[in-house]
């Protein structure tokens, strides 16, 4: 998938305008959030359950190398084959090779974000193997050549009329309809045929359990279970951080993921696979391949602070509550992931030099952090990434390609830093700035300003700088030299 994280501001302009024209769009994440709140409240001690989720994810990451080895060992003894891919190219090449060797004409896919990340569909198509997305939302955006608008509901932004027109043009339905059930039925009939003859299935993984070598998927449509059980060959693709230690840990994360993601106590389907079909079993794939993708994550693992970004379990609660996501939607973030989880994950994955806007376009409001079941402190990570740009020479900054800030900003903060600990210098700075700032003010308000602050003044006024600061007013009323005790 093409990376356009550097075009953030440009994309935002377009997306904000689109959202303005469709106010209903903003309500979708709102409803998902409300549903989450209601179901979470039903939990006996929701904050404790959330905190426990954070502890599980934190421990799993602290022990990542050890748990991955344990997982691999147990998965192999269950009969699975494990392949470690350093990057997207290696993962794609391996999967394409497997499909070709088995003579697969097409691949049936369950919804997965990691295969979006590595661009598997493109790699398969190039080799003449057709990928078919089997999740309804993914199916729609695949037919429309779009990228996911939301990590859980990739097509939540597509109007039902658009889906109708698409399905008519592709002959998935015969008569025009806006009934979601009928539209779903059209897609279902089409895909059923694909499932029926499928030889090769590819899915993602929600959790990989180290102690049992089990892979777990949560879903509501059944496409993942179908893609895992119907074809002879199953390929499950996971990124390194999906591993947890015990089945008990996984079960708790299932509770949290269902509630935080779709506001359900449990998703309609939960499937757990420990190896391919055994001799005495009646169903399941004949062979199971597990592809473990790094794609930059071991570099993130090496940084104890940034490692927190890998805790994410992809529930999208942070997208649904984020006031910025609600205004700009998922496309503006410029790559696979979106919302706060994307803003903490994509910068170290792609490099800070390509993603500066992602961790700067935040008011640090903390709504994301307040709902995260994995205990990620998104605002603090944004601040950390910002600091790596400023100290672009430090080793952590080099690890993630920190990019130096504009010289004017650097100079400003250098001067600011000198003045902030010397009140005489601070106060003379104020006296110098006041007439400059207030030059165009009227009636105590500044209505326009060119240059560096023009962004503010497009739609907002700003108070003129006070003729007397609080300090000056205090000195007048209380008298000079009445500083109290502790002033050095």
């Amino acid at each position: 998938m093409q990376v356009s994280t550097e075009k953030f501001t440009e994309l935002v302009r377009r997306e904000v305008e689109k959202a303005r024209l469709r106010p209903a769009l903003k309500m979708v994440p709102h409803f998902l959030h409300e549903k989450r709140e209601a179901v979470l409240a039903d939990h006996p001690d929701a904050p404790a359950a959330q905190a426990y989720g954070g502890a599980i994810r934190s421990e799993a990451l602290a022990r990542l190398p050890e748990l991955l080895e344990e997982f691999e060992k147990n998965a192999i003894s269950n009969g699975a084959k494990v392949f470690w891919a350093r990057n997207a190219e290696e993962a794609n090449a391996y999967i394409v090779k497997l499909a070709r060797e088995r003579g697969a004409k097409y691949v049936i896919k369950g919804k997965s974000m990691v295969t979006e990340e590595i661009g598997l569909n493109g790699a398969l198509s190039e080799q003449g193997i057709e990928p078919w997305e089997a999740d309804l939302g993914e199916f729609i955006i695949q037919q429309m050549n779009r990228t996911p608008f939301h990590i859980v509901g990739p097509a939540i932004n597509i109007a039902v009329e658009e889906v109708r027109d698409l399905f008519l043009s592709k002959a998935f339905i015969k008569e025009p309809t806006l009934d979601p059930v009928e539209l779903g039925w059209g897609a279902r009939l089409f895909l059923r045929e694909k499932f029926h003859r499928a030889q090769f299935g590819v899915t993602g993984v929600n959790m990989a359990v180290a102690e049992t070598g089990t892979i777990i998927n949560l879903e509501n449509e059944g496409n993942i279970r179908f893609a895992k059980s119907s074809p002879r060959t199953q390929v499950s693709v996971m990124t390194l951080e999906k591993v947890v230690h015990t089945m008990k840990d996984a079960l708790h994360l299932i509770r949290l993921l269902s509630r935080n993601c779709t506001g359900q106590k449990i998703t309609a389907y939960v499937s757990m696979d420990s190896g391919p079909r055994k001799v005495d079993e009646i169903d399941g794939p004949e062979e199971l391949f597990i592809v473990i993708v790094d794609n930059g994550r071991s570099r993130i693992y090496q940084d104890p602070r940034a490692r927190e970004a890998l805790r994410c379990i992809r529930c999208a609660a942070c997208l649904n509550i984020c006031p910025v996501y609600r205004q700009i939607g998922g496309y503006a973030y410029g790559w696979v992931y979106s919302g706060p989880m994307g803003q903490v994950l994509m910068p170290p994955l792609l490099g800070l030099d390509k993603t500066q806007d992602l961790y700067r376009a935040s008011t640090l409001c903390g709504a994301c952090k307040s709902v995260c079941p994995a205990g990620i402190d998104h605002p603090d990570l944004f601040l950390y990434y910002r600091s790596l740009d400023v100290s672009a020479d430090a080793s952590a900054a080099q690890r993630f390609n920190g990019k130096e800030r504009p010289w004017k900003e650097t100079l400003f903060f250098k001067l600011w830093g000198m003045a902030v600990k010397r009140s005489w210098m601070w106060n003379s700075g104020i006296s110098i700035t006041r007439p400059l700032m207030n030059a165009g003010s009227r009636g105590g308000a500044i209505r326009q300003m060119k240059g560096a602050f023009r962004g503010w003044f497009r739609k907002r006024d700003f108070p003129a700088m006070a003729e007397e600061t609080f300090r000056e007013r205090w000195e007048k009323t209380v008298g000079k030299g009445t500083d109290f005790k502790s002033v050095p």
Partner: protein, 245 residues
């Protein structure tokens, strides 16, 4: 009489000094003695948010030098309090002596409504206002400090007031410091939604406790809805809703 040290945010010092004065008269009214360190400058939040930690550290040390011995420190802002309470100990984590001083200082810093209600146990400050008000829950006050019931208690105790609820009252207004200037497309859409919720609430006045949000929401109202006002809780309580500057 109990002493309390005034922590005046730089935005208040430079652009909204009347909020500082309102806080002073409010504190005097409830029987505490406000004291003021004339050497105070800025808590360092702008530098911290922009990534300039070395500079933010200088601000932190200066603040600790000035306020280090004070029994209670009060600010009419939640984000500045968060900076001192939460970020100073982390910023100074690699200098043990400074870390100790920052950690000891942290619990003595309060946001104004928090200080009045939780420390002084006062909610009725003798203000009166005939009209309805809505309350905007600023992010750093609500999620940063967990303060929400305190300002509401102070508002409810005002004689004659009719508190109204507002949709998405706990949603960010889109200020975010440099964010508002650098990403105007997003920030404007956010403040527009916030103002829309305020207008739909039907309240006569919007009350908040954060200077940043006041600059943002107030700046938008001034341009587009000059008849509608946003006001800091300190001013509202000290002057019973009158605009005194």
């Amino acid at each position: 009489m109990k002493d309390v040290s005034l922590f005046i945010p730089c935005t208040v010092d430079l652009f909204l000094p009347h909020i500082g004065e309102a806080m002073v008269s409010l504190l005097q009214r409830v029987g505490v003695n406000p004291l003021y360190h004339r050497g105070q400058t800025c808590c360092g939040q702008p530098a911290m948010n922009a990534g300039y930690r070395r500079e933010a550290k200088k601000a932190a040390k200066h603040f600790i030098e000035l306020f280090g011995n004070d029994e209670a420190i009060v600010a009419p802002s939640g984000s500045c309090v968060c900076m001192v309470k939460h970020h100073y100990p982390v910023l100074l984590g690699d200098e043990p002596e400074w870390f100790r001083r920052a950690s000891e200082l942290a619990p003595r810093v309060y946001e104004l409504s928090q200080y009045l209600v939780d420390v002084l146990r006062v909610s009725d400050v003798g203000a009166a206002f005939t009209g309805s008000v809505a309350y905007h829950e600023s992010c750093h006050i609500l999620r940063g400090l967990g303060v929400s019931t305190q300002p509401k208690a102070l508002i409810s105790a005002v004689k004659g007031v009719k508190p109204l609820s507002m949709n998405q009252g706990d949603f960010c207004c889109g200020f975010g410091g440099e964010f508002a200037n650098h990403y105007p497309d997003i920030s404007e859409a956010m403040v527009q939604d916030k103002v829309q919720c305020y207008l739909e609430s039907g309240a006569d006045l919007l009350i908040l406790c954060e200077p940043g949000c006041l600059l943002n929401i107030g700046g938008y109202l001034s341009r587009h809805h000059p008849g509608k006002r946003a006001m800091h809780l300190a001013s509202f309580l000290a002057h019973s809703g009158r605009d005194e500057r």
